[in-house]
Symmetry: C2
Subunit: 109 residues, 2 copies
DNA sequence: TTGACATACTACGACAGCCGTAGTACTATA
DNA sequence: TATAGTACTACGGCTGTCGTAGTATGTCAA
């Protein structure tokens, strides 16, 4: 079976994360499990990729973090999407439509 | 208008080039013009990206080069797709279908 | 109570591919 | 004769992904 190459996903990990955060704040471990679930095991994001995306996106103002203890007594760093993040997400969706259109002109049907 | 980000195309430039070489041998300048034409000016590949792709792909055995003088007396380096290149192209097409499917689960429709 | 496994991260550095900048050299055309 | 188009090459920077490794807590079963 064909594997998803990281080169393609590159630049869309941020979009994937923002999509999930639009449903409400979440944290690393939970997000990675949801990505796996939603993609039906077709995409399993690497931990390092995920956490470095958090750092980058917070720096860019797309997400905000806060520390909280969930149901368990464990401290977790939660992330919440910002207005800027929402705007960025929308722009990436438009970009995706265009990119898909272009790439498919070069893919044999 | 949304611009195509190079991060998305990244990893598909090879596929785009192979698609065009399947129609017959070609060279850098011609390919860059064809990519622009076919994409209707939506994607303009950078020269450095293109020529470094040639080097990489020849090393990987996906293309072969030969020097020839075209209609004009100018020497050009032509590239031709190999059997390995054809196989690689097919595998990238399958990968694309899968990748598209996954990404679209995270794109708001 | 001990060990295995899940959870929840952080640090560090390597690597690949794209891109900016720059320069060379030849041809055609006005 | 100069301007634009053609056809490259060299070099180095940057970004995002990934491999490896390590820390620390919680849970559950034997």
């Amino acid at each position: 079976m064909a594997e998803i190459s990281s080169d393609v996903i590159r630049g869309y990990n941020d979009t994937i994360i923002l999509f999930l955060l639009k449903e409400g704040p979440s944290y690393g471990y939970e997000l990675s499990k949801r990505i796996r679930q939603i993609s039906e095991d077709k995409y399993i994001i690497k931990e390092t990729t995920l956490y470095s995306a958090f750092t980058r996106m917070e720096k860019n103002g797309y997400i905000e973090s806060f520390v909280d203890e969930g149901d368990s007594g464990k401290k977790r760093t939660y992330y919440r999407i910002t207005d800027q993040g929402n705007a960025y997400y929308e722009s990436k969706c438009s970009e995706w439509d265009l990119t898909k259109e272009v790439i498919e002109k070069f893919i044999r049907r």
